[in-house]
């Protein structure tokens, strides 16, 4: 489903350009959930931004395809309409734009891009109520401007709310667990699991094994210095939790 081959990318312009992703290869078949772990500054968030098309990153080599479609050539909004979703490590505040307006606009824009009819207001509200209930989200929060004044955990829950509303085909979750309390972690994981399906794929970036107790990955990759240096099953995450990265990093050399 998602196939990344020998991807390299820089951040910064001209002289200051710095290679962050350095020959990274990774494949997530449809129906699977893969975890990415790795030390701070390894390039995990950068990978998520390169995949989703944020400005300021330049792809200098390799390619990435979603179901065979070259996503790197597409505008960010077109990647989103093609089904790519990023749950941000640091969700962005949008003053003056209520959650409802934002998510409905996004939903209809994606539908329009795919040639589907818009969602009606009652249908939207019904779906929104269901999703909010599942995530224990206060209805009042959805009337407030996007992320403005939200606590860290609330912001993460709102990311998952958006994900459940938009029903993307491929999801990148960047440290969605950080900032969540124990109960919220469980509800959020339930939300994420609700989207697991044979036709969907997921890349879960995390520092902690704990999240993987709830969202069971098919594979675990270790990302360091801009590439995948080790891939294993769920037991790899357990080993990292116990030993830290030193052992794995040493083996890779």
């Amino acid at each position: 489903m998602l196939k990344i081959q020998n991807l390299s990318a820089t951040v910064g312009e001209g002289e200051a350009a710095k290679t962050i992703i350095n020959g990274l290869s990774l494949e997530v078949p449809a129906g699977e959930v893969h975890a990415i772990m790795g030390p701070n500054g390894a390039g995990k968030s950068t990978l998520s931004y390169v995949l989703t098309g944020r400005d300021g990153y330049e792809v200098t080599g390799g390619n990435a395809t979603l179901d065979g479609q070259d996503i790197l050539a597409m505008e960010p909004e077109d990647r989103a309409s093609a089904g790519l979703f990023l749950s941000f490590q640091y969700p962005v505040e949008i003053p003056g734009v209520p959650v409802m307006t934002f998510v409905r606009t996004a939903m209809n824009a994606q539908r329009k891009a795919r040639g589907e009819p818009e969602i009606s207001a009652p249908d939207y509200l019904k779906k929104s109520r269901e999703v909010a209930k599942m995530l224990n989200l206060d209805a009042d929060m959805l009337k407030r401007p996007v992320n403005v004044g939200f606590s860290g955990g609330e912001k993460k829950r709102l990311e998952i709310y958006q994900m459940l509303m938009l029903e993307p085909r491929f999801m990148v979750l960047d440290e969605t667990d950080s900032g969540l309390d124990i109960d919220a972690l469980r509800t959020v994981a339930e939300g994420v699991n609700a989207l697991r399906a044979p036709e969907r794929g997921m890349l879960v970036i995390t520092h902690y094994q704990r999240l993987l107790d709830y969202i069971k990955p098919d594979k675990v990759h270790v990302l360091a210095k801009g590439r995948i240096i080790k891939t294993g099953g769920p037991e790899l995450a357990l080993r990292l939790e116990k030993e830290g990265y030193d052992g794995v990093l040493a083996e890779a050399v």
Binding site: R54, E77, P91, V92, I94, G96, F102, A113
Partner: protein, 458 residues
């Protein structure tokens, strides 16, 4: 035309000669003469006059021909609300007026305070009385119940000069909306509001002119004790458009909210100039101006608070102007000025100018919202605060802003301002601060030379 008349303006332009001729054709009246002289001192104001250096009417009003564009549609027209209409042909009023409103069409020209400070306002007053308009149209508002009134200023024609003088009796309430729709080569409107004790004025102004037109809207507001004005303006500009508000708190505890939003497209110029004098104790002024400008558009903000040494004690005033430069080539000129001579005051001002936030834009696009739509949504949210107090008219104004934003042609990616963001802020200013003028421009090479501060604190 006598030589004396011709000599009133130094080196007159064709347009100025036409204005002199129009004045000469009117019934002679010493007050009218004084008003026209106040205008003639400067002639059509131009960039060598400090107050007008960014809005050059002399250059913009070249000939007083019929403009190419018809007047804009009126979003504030409301069924069942009495409407006064001012056109180059004169004015019309409905046969029946709401209770509490009385119109007096006077044959004599009424004097205007501070005529020298508002040359285009003085011109409007000096030229009123042509065709079927009275020399001075007065409106008196009385009673407890709010009076609603709508006024339309529009062409077609060459010159549309209009003046209305409102007197709000103690405790009276007026909810007035003004649509300045262009359609004349040159329009100048003077609207005066005197609020007696405890009177309340809600003033909504919609301005939209054509690319070849010049428009001046001058408001003089005088407030007695406990009076309150709430003003909201939405402006789209014209070849040159100036919206000037001169407000005097002349007795204690009067309150003014002056909000404005502007959207300037290619070839449009919008100037917001305000002058607020805190001439009495414990008066409050809140001013929020927000604007967004495209390549080839210009926004001007000149805001002044004047707080005299003794009279202005316990003043509470804040001034905020925030501009969004949506594209390379957008221009914003800002001159916040706080002249505070009293020592027991609370005054603050903030002045920022920058591009849309790239993180926000990306966040919206990652959710599937196309670039242009994302930009429109963020810009609308940005100016929304300035329209919040427009009451019943908020929705109509927002709809106009939305429509404009949705029609904006897509900017080629290279022309969209992206990585830069800069701002200037100075607050609070105590006890004396006369801010130097700033000029923001988005032409990239010059960026590094932009001044970092707007205020000289002394």
């Amino acid at each position: 035309m006598s030589t004396a008349l011709k000599d009133m303006i130094r080196n007159p332009t064709v347009a100025e000669l036409e204005l002199v001729a129009r004045y000469a054709a009117l019934k002679a009246d010493p007050r009218r003469e004084r008003l026209f002289e106040a205008f003639a001192q400067t002639g059509l104001p131009h960039r060598r006059i400090e107050d007008w250096r960014w809005s050059d009417f002399k250059a913009a009003v070249t000939a007083l021909d019929l403009p190419a564009t018809p007047p804009a549609a009126d979003p504030l027209a409301t069924d069942g609300v009495a409407t006064l209409k001012f056109t180059p042909q004169g004015y019309t009023a409905p046969a029946s007026l709401p209770p509490g409103l009385r119109l007096l069409a006077k044959d004599e020209v009424q004097a205007m305070s501070g005529a020298e400070d508002a040359p285009l306002g003085a011109l409007a007053a000096a030229l009123s009385g042509a065709k079927n308009a009275p020399a001075t149209l007065m409106a008196e508002v009385t009673g407890e119940t709010p009076v609603r009134l709508h006024m339309v200023f529009s062409g077609p024609g060459a010159i549309n000069a209009a003046r209305v003088v409102f007197l709000l009796r103690p405790g009276a309430q007026l909810e007035v909306s003004e649509s300045h729709l262009g359609g004349a080569a040159f329009s100048t409107a003077l609207v005066e509001y005197t609020l007696q004790q405890g009177a309340r004025l809600s003033r909504i102004v919609y301005q939209r002119g054509g690319k070849t037109e010049a428009q001046a809207i001058t408001a003089l507001i005088h407030q007695d004790a406990d009076a309150e004005t709430k003003q909201t303006v939405l402006a789209f500009g014209a070849r040159v458009a100036r919206i000037e508000t001169r407000l005097v708190h002349q007795e204690t505890s009067s309150h003014a909210t002056l909000n404005a939003a502007y959207l300037a497209g290619d070839g449009y110029h919008i100037d917001f100039t305000s002058h607020v004098r805190h001439g009495a104790r414990a008066c409050i002024t809140r001013q929020v101006t927000k604007g967004a400008v495209l390549d080839g558009g210009r926004g001007v903000f000149q805001g002044k608070f004047h707080v005299p040494r003794n009279a202005g004690q316990q003043t509470d005033a804040s001034m905020q102007h925030n501009a969004l430069l949506l594209e390379d080539g957008a221009e914003v000129f800002a001159k916040p000025e706080l002249e505070i001579l009293a020592d027991d005051v609370q005054c603050a001002h903030g002045n920022t100018s920058g591009a849309l936030d790239q993180n926000q834009l990306f966040y919206l696009r990652q959710r599937g919202i196309p670039l242009e739509k994302a930009r429109a949504l963020l810009t609308e949210a940005f100016i929304a605060e300035a329209l919040e107090d427009a009451g019943d008219h908020e929705e109509a104004l927002r709809a106009e802003a939305q429509a404009w934003l949705s029609e904006v042609r897509p900017a080629p990616r290279s022309r969209m301002l992206s990585s830069m963001r800069w701002q200037t802020r100075c607050a609070p200013l105590m006890p004396t601060c006369i801010a130097a003028s700033t000029r923001w421009q988005t032409r990239r090479p010059k960026l590094s030379k932009l001044p970092a501060k707007t205020c000289a604190h002394s």
